[in-house]
């Protein structure tokens, strides 16, 4: 058991190192000089002033040092917990920018992914044994999965937001409100959260339901199910075993899904003008904001690694074969 986790931790550590290095490299090899665009935005006409500003900012961000030195500085700063200053949102520290955005992203993505997973699995498993339900849930599920997310989101924003006017189309909370710990504000927060949440939830739901349905049918037709059935075991018991087996690939799927959620939230944030990490990433790329890009990617890398690690742990809990495998490896 301990060896299993030690090996996992080593792999994760290595992945982290490589991911962070790649993450440092990519923006630096993108076309475009961030300082040039920063100075261009200042719209200063005089060549002398421009030269002075360029020199000043190159020095400030350390771009005048050799690449190797920049890389070492980067690790040094990272270990001190310093992500640097954002270039796009200069002079805000990257840490602050991310901390302001993260609550929105997490509050949106975590419930939608987990709830769609739970509800989708439940629906799928249920549909597998009710023909009437199967005939309705399945097509709806296929339609939901096949719908381009962007389109569904725009449709929701247009239909429920602009036309019906039930939900707001922009913002994390009403533009007229001041954030306080009051019921009115929390309700307002929820009101703005509902539509983006619904869009993410709906799109993921279909996939989970279809996956689960297929898995259950497959399991119910497998040898052990037939054998149990031949022994005269009650069908509830058989379905319970089938469910336990069918849920394993779904857990793996969930782990993979967690890696892509931030990218998914990007479109959500843009369509619903919802604050969060996704739109920051887009802006960081557009503005060659190395530091913000590094910060957000680091956050994602950490999130994905930790989520995967937890799934590994969950596997040990839910799948006895993993435990047996570990015992076998030790023997």
């Amino acid at each position: 058991m301990r060896r299993y986790f030690r090996r996992k931790l080593l792999v994760y550590g290595l992945t982290f190192f490589v991911a962070v290095t790649v993450n440092w490299m990519i923006p630096r090899f993108m076309p475009g000089d961030p300082v040039a665009s920063m100075v261009a935005r200042a719209n200063v006409a005089q060549p002398q002033a421009v030269a002075a500003m360029r020199a000043y900012y190159n020095d400030l961000f350390g771009f005048d040092e050799p690449l190797v030195q920049q890389y070492l500085n980067f690790w040094g700063a990272l270990l001190r917990g310093d992500f640097g200053l954002s270039i796009w949102l200069f002079p805000t520290p990257v840490g602050t920018v991310i901390a302001d955005a993260v609550p929105y992203t997490l509050a949106l993505v975590v419930p939608s992914v987990l709830l769609s997973w739970v509800v989708g699995n439940w629906f799928g498993a249920y549909a597998a044994r009710r023909r009437a339900l199967d005939n309705t849930v399945l097509p709806v599920g296929y339609i939901l999965t096949a719908t381009p997310y962007m389109w569904l989101a725009v449709l929701l924003a247009w239909g429920l937001g602009v036309v019906a006017g039930v939900f707001p189309v922009a913002g994390g909370y009403s533009f007229s409100l001041q954030p306080t710990w009051s019921w009115a504000f929390l309700l307002d927060l929820l009101h703005h959260w509902a539509l983006p949440f619904l869009s993410l939830f709906l799109v993921a739901l279909g996939g989970w339901a279809i996956g689960m349905r297929n898995m259950i049918i497959y399991e119910l037709e497998s040898d052990y199910a037939n054998y149990l059935s031949a022994l005269g075991a009650p069908s509830r018991l058989i379905r319970r075993y089938a469910f336990r087996n069918a849920v394993l690939p779904q857990i793996t799927g969930l782990a993979l899904q967690l890696g892509t959620i931030v990218a998914g939230a990007l479109v959500t944030e843009i369509v619903f003008a919802y604050p969060g990490l996704g739109s920051l990433i887009l802006a960081a790329i557009q503005n060659s904001d190395f530091f913000l890009l590094q910060g957000t990617f680091l956050f994602i890398v950490l999130g994905v690694l930790i989520a995967n690690f937890i799934i590994d742990v969950v596997y040990v809990v839910v799948d006895p074969r993993t435990r047996a495998g570990m015992a076998g490896a030790q023997a």
Binding site: A36, P103, L106, G161, S174, R244
Partner: protein, 584 residues
């Protein structure tokens, strides 16, 4: 057991994941609902009353980052104009400076300018506003990295004669530029700013700004800035004007579609976004208005130019540039790309507001219009012929001409325009391929001179066409051209004329016209940049909460309804004072 097994898995996963994701952040995440920024403590109603609040968008594209008026390009909306003020405003309708913090100013001799300040103005912290503040603010420009550092190449000294009088002594009086500076530079309080280092002045966030303006910053959030009117603002009694909205909420919308949706939901009062197809909404009954209720719908804000790189063949040949200018069907761009939301530029490129400076004789003799046959003729006369029969002309030495036209990726209207230019140039025999690099890559190519053709519109309406001619002709051409003369066009005589123009007093219209006429001649003969169309001062206003928006009709205000940076001084602020609640 059965129920437990089924519920356990998702529950365990859920709780573990929830904790994992929160611990994934390196910083403890504050609750989403906590007030962000230090302004949350100000006593104010939790809910802004709709009928006293103006909602705007179209300036900010990300979280507001600073309230530093020195950073005229990225400070939060209203920092300059609403919180900090300038000595003068500029009246674009009557083309004259309008005293603001200054009661008036005049040239006492050829190189001395004296300003009298209005008495009784106080900073928002109660301190009196004096001549020392003005002196201090302009002297900040002595720092090398301050954008208006160049001023000190021709400004010699500033003297605060008494509390209300400031005297500027120049080594060389650049009248045109000076007027621009008079309404462009924010005055900051010396008593607050005096100990700041160069780094703090240039890069400081300037939390809790102390200004003379009609508003103060109430709070900020990731996607908004909220300003509150100061009821003790000096202008209320001295100028007898008051901006009507008690609160202004400026919203950073991530896309124009969102702005459009909010406008239709009546959640926005003013959108300064480019909204394609807004003409249909103005014509229909959607409660939306624009300055004109017919084409071009908007006032003009700047000129979009086609910039050829004159260091490359064949763009180094004025005859080729002229043929290129004749080949472009701007009318088609205006109609099909913009749906008539912009208007075609005059051959001089001077904005409609500067019409009195256009010399019609020069235009009629040297101007150009869209004429494919004429373009072909010009190409043939200059020796550009189609030698291999592919319908496209070659260079004089027989090598192929294959130009690229770059516009930033994602700027859909410009991308379409580039395609249109490419198509109409092809009819005349010039091969142009549109390319859409990422904005930053484009800036780099533009700075380094690594391009054939590009479209640019970075010079805004100002007090004088001087700023346009500086943009066209500035010399010397350096390795890197950051903001002006991207064409890298070198003409000593033109640059001398531009500097002569700078030396003409701004009330000497005839003197300005005379020099500008010569500059127009050079521009139209040589076409270092080719004017295409006038971009609009995009402003669509909703009449559901506020009325009396600027309009070409009747007695409505003629100023622009605009929150863009540096436009408050050009009438944006005056517009706010003219609004009326729709209910009244």
């Amino acid at each position: 057991m059965r129920i437990r097994a089924r519920l356990m898995i998702p529950l365990v996963a859920a709780s573990l994941l929830a904790s994992a994701c929160t611990s994934g952040g390196s910083t403890p995440s504050p609750a989403a609902s906590q007030p962000q920024g230090g302004q949350g403590a100000v006593a104010d109603p939790g809910q802004l009353p709709r009928n006293e609040t103006l909602y705007t968008t179209g300036t900010q594209w990300g979280p507001p980052v600073n309230f530093n008026p020195i950073r005229e390009w990225d400070s939060a909306v209203g920092t300059k104009g609403l919180v900090y003020e300038t000595l003068f405003h500029y009246d674009t309708v009557n083309a004259q400076l309008k005293p603001w913090l200054a009661a008036g100013g005049s040239w006492t001799d050829d190189t001395t300018y004296e300003i009298k300040l209005r008495p009784g103005i106080t900073w928002s912290d109660g301190q009196p506003f004096t001549a020392e503040d003005v002196k201090f603010s302009y002297e900040l420009g002595k720092m090398e990295t301050i954008p208006y550092h160049d001023l000190w190449n021709w400004l010699e000294s500033i003297e605060a004669v008494d509390d209300q009088t400031v005297r500027f002594s120049f080594s060389q009086a650049n009248y045109q530029q000076w007027d621009f500076n008079l309404y462009s530079r924010s005055i900051v309080p010396q008593h607050v700013w005096k100990d700041r280092s160069e780094k703090e002045v240039l890069d400081g966030v300037n939390e809790n700004p102390v200004g003379t303006g009609a508003y103060k910053i109430l709070r900020k959030g990731q996607d908004r800035v909220v300003l509150q009117r100061r009821d003790d603002w000096w202008g209320k009694t001295v100028l007898n004007m008051e901006p009507k909205p008690r609160y202004i909420v400026d919203i950073a919308t991530p896309s124009n579609e969102v702005a459009m949706g909010m406008l239709l939901q009546r959640q926005l009062d003013l959108s300064n976004n480019f909204l394609p197809g807004v003409a249909n909404l103005v014509q229909g009954n959607f409660g939306l208005t624009t300055y004109y209720n017919e084409p071009p719908y908007m006032l003009s804000a700047n000129t979009a130019w086609l910039v050829p790189n004159t260091t490359r063949k064949p763009m180094d040949d004025a005859a080729f540039r002229k043929a290129l200018a004749h080949s472009i069907n701007v009318k088609q761009i205006v109609e099909s790309v913009y749906g008539n939301l912009v208007r075609a530029a005059s051959p001089t490129g001077l904005l409609p507001q500067w019409e009195k400076f256009v010399d019609q004789d020069v235009v009629s003799s040297a101007g150009f219009t869209f004429d494919t046959a004429k373009a072909k003729q010009l190409l043939a006369d200059a020796g550009y012929r189609d030698r291999d029969g592919d319908g496209l002309v070659e260079n004089k030495d027989g090598s192929k001409i294959d130009l690229t036209l770059i516009v930033p990726s994602g700027w859909t209207d410009w991308m379409e325009s580039a395609r249109s230019i490419s198509a109409s140039a092809k009819d005349a025999g010039i091969s142009i391929t549109p390319e859409f690099p990422d904005f930053n890559a484009l800036v780099e190519q533009r700075t380094e001179g690594d391009f054939d053709l590009l479209i640019n519109n970075e010079r805004q309406l100002s007090n004088s066409p001087y700023t346009y001619y500086e943009y066209m002709f500035q010399m010397p051409v350096l390795e890197q051209q950051n903001t002006v003369n991207f064409a890298r066009y070198e003409n000593e005589r033109a640059w001398d004329l531009v500097r002569d123009l700078d030396q003409v007093k701004t009330d000497d219209v005839a003197g300005m016209q005379e020099i500008i006429s010569q500059l127009q001649r050079i521009h139209l003969d040589d076409l270092p940049v080719i004017p295409l169309w006038y971009n609009g001062l995009w402003a669509q206003h909703s009449t559901s909460v506020w009325k009396n928006w600027p309009s070409s009709q009747g007695s409505a205000p003629k100023t622009g309804a605009v929150m863009w940076r540096n436009w408050f001084e050009l009438g944006g602020f005056e517009t706010l004072t003219q609004l009326q609640p729709a209910g009244s």
